[in-house]
């Protein structure tokens, strides 16, 4: 996956129960090269807990929750992350 601004990164966590959608989001962000430009990530999930947990993760990790979009059989949670790299975390 490339972090081009035109093509948002996607975490496809459909069918997965909490806390997996948030774990996969955090893992993807951790693997991104550090940068100052925010990267858009779409988290696709069917687990109802994601509606609270994705925004909560953003708040706890200092990232920006943009919004949720209802799709046919799942919800897409849009997040803008500024990758800091593994070393700078915590």
């Amino acid at each position: 996956m490339s972090a081009s601004p035109d093509e948002p990164l996607v975490v496809d966590a459909r069918g997965e129960r909490c806390p997996l959608p948030v774990i996969r989001l955090a893992r993807l962000v951790r693997g991104l090269p550090p940068g100052e430009v925010p990267v858009t990530v779409r988290v696709l999930a069917t687990d109802p807990a994601a509606a609270s947990d994705v925004p909560a993760w953003c708040r706890m990790r200092g990232q920006r929750f943009v919004g949720a979009e209802a799709e046919a059989d799942h919800t897409a949670y849009v997040v803008e992350v500024t990758p800091t790299g593994p070393a700078a975390e915590r």
Binding site: C18, P19, A26, P48, A49, M60, R61, R90
Partner: protein, 404 residues
């Protein structure tokens, strides 16, 4: 003759702790206050009869039931005729709302309730709205990040035509946050709408609420057995369609079992005698748990830090499921609850955590027992605080998320 039939013998269900000691940090439903336990056992002999019977045993049971009601009424600052005893707190809560709504059925059928009310409020109200194909029959008023109801929205919701009943808890049993009852009651009163206050989480542990028209409690919160307490303030329009006038002032069709009522009254007397001292003790212990939890990486402590129940605290840790945390703590001898729904059969996480918009996974809920129930409560909490961070770290590492 020895039998291989396990029958109803109850063995110890607990996982023994490494040091053999269990630490009860989930007192939402017991165990009984030790004095109430003795009362219950004694009442099995003295108060077994149907209080409606005319024989000596029935009259004894009636006298014990009346005495129980007087104790509870006096503790709540109401008159015995205002108090009905129902099989459980949630039953009483659902009935409390039904009675207000039924009495006002010619004016409308709309319910206003906070989004963090007990499911005994929300589930039937949602079902009724769905059956009538009218979502407006229930207004769920949102709460802020601490779990406190939004008063402006509350007032607006009450103003909608056809609103006949409002429901708000005195404090939330999952996160501890108290609700602004005085303002919420004033707003309801301005529209002539009775306010049902659910005090199931706090009676016996926190001050008795003053601002209500119908009050609901559960004897479990003060160390008693499961018993619903429904108080309808004199002058409040309340009627139940299924009433039998001779049972519990027409507010239920089931007479309470007298031993349970007596044990509930005894527990009230015991707990209320020490509420102020117990409150101070548990409040400082909850403060210690809040501090320990806040020190665990990527963990959020939920609910109001000050304006809250003295004995309830909950927190959520990123990247773990609550069930795994409960299991890991259980193995070490700690009984705690969780509002997460990651691996359990429940598909929805706690509606309270979701309404507050806080992290629902990795949730642990501590409800401290009365000090009389757990005399070693200080040591239990200190031990819990000490194992918390290492336990979360170990569960994270077992789940392969220790690096996140």
């Amino acid at each position: 003759m020895p039998s291989h039939d396990p029958g109803t013998n109850v063995g110890p269900p607990q996982t023994p702790a490494p040091d053999g000691r269990r630490r009860l940090l989930d007192a939402a439903s017991g165990p009984l206050h030790p004095v109430a336990r003795d009362t219950l056992v004694a009442a099995l002999s003295a108060g077994w009869a149907d209080p409606a019977r005319l024989h000596a045993e029935g009259r004894t049971a009636r006298a014990l039931l009346d005495r129980s009601r007087e104790v509870i009424a006096s503790g709540l600052g109401v008159r015995p005729v205002e108090v009905s005893l129902l099989p459980s707190g949630p039953t009483a809560l659902e009935r409390a709302i039904d009675g207000v709504r039924y009495a006002a059925r010619r004016r409308g059928a709309r319910t206003v309730a906070s989004a963090v009310e007990h499911s005994a409020v929300l589930v039937p109200a949602r079902a009724r709205a769905a059956r009538s194909d009218d979502p407006a029959l229930l207004a769920e008023v949102p709460v802020d990040g601490l779990g406190r109801v939004d008063l402006e929205t509350w007032e607006r919701a009450l103003a909608a035509p056809g609103t006949v009943v409002a429901a708000l808890q005195s404090a939330n049993g999952e996160v501890g946050t108290r609700q602004p009852l005085e303002d919420a009651h004033a707003a309801a009163r301005a529209h002539g709408i009775p306010l049902v206050v659910d005090a199931m989480a706090g009676l016996g542990r926190d001050a008795v609420p003053e601002h209500w028209d119908v009050l609901v409690g559960d004897a479990r919160s003060w160390g008693g057995p499961p018993l619903g307490v429904l108080v309808v303030r004199e002058g409040v329009r309340w009627q139940w369609s299924g009433a039998r006038a001779d049972v519990e002032h027409g507010r239920t069709d089931v007479s309470p079992w007298v031993p349970v009522a007596l044990a509930a009254a005894e527990a009230w007397q015991q707990a209320s005698a020490t509420t102020a001292a117990d409150e101070a003790r548990t409040r400082s212990l909850v403060g210690a748990v809040r501090e320990a939890a806040a020190g665990v990486p990527d963990t959020v402590v939920v609910g109001d830090p000050d304006d809250r129940l003295p004995h309830v605290v909950t927190f959520s840790s990123l990247y773990v499921d609550g069930e795994a945390l409960v299991g890991a703590l259980d193995q070490q001898g700690y009984a705690v609850a969780s509002g997460s729904a990651c691996t359990s059969s429940t598909l929805e996480p706690s509606h309270v955590l979701a309404a507050m918009g806080v992290l629902t996974h990795g949730n642990v809920r501590v409800t401290l027992p009365l000090p009389a129930v757990s005399p070693a409560i200080e040591a239990d909490v200190a031990d819990f605080c000490a194992v918390l961070a290492p336990t979360v770290a170990r569960v994270r590492s077992e789940l392969g998320v220790g690096d996140l």
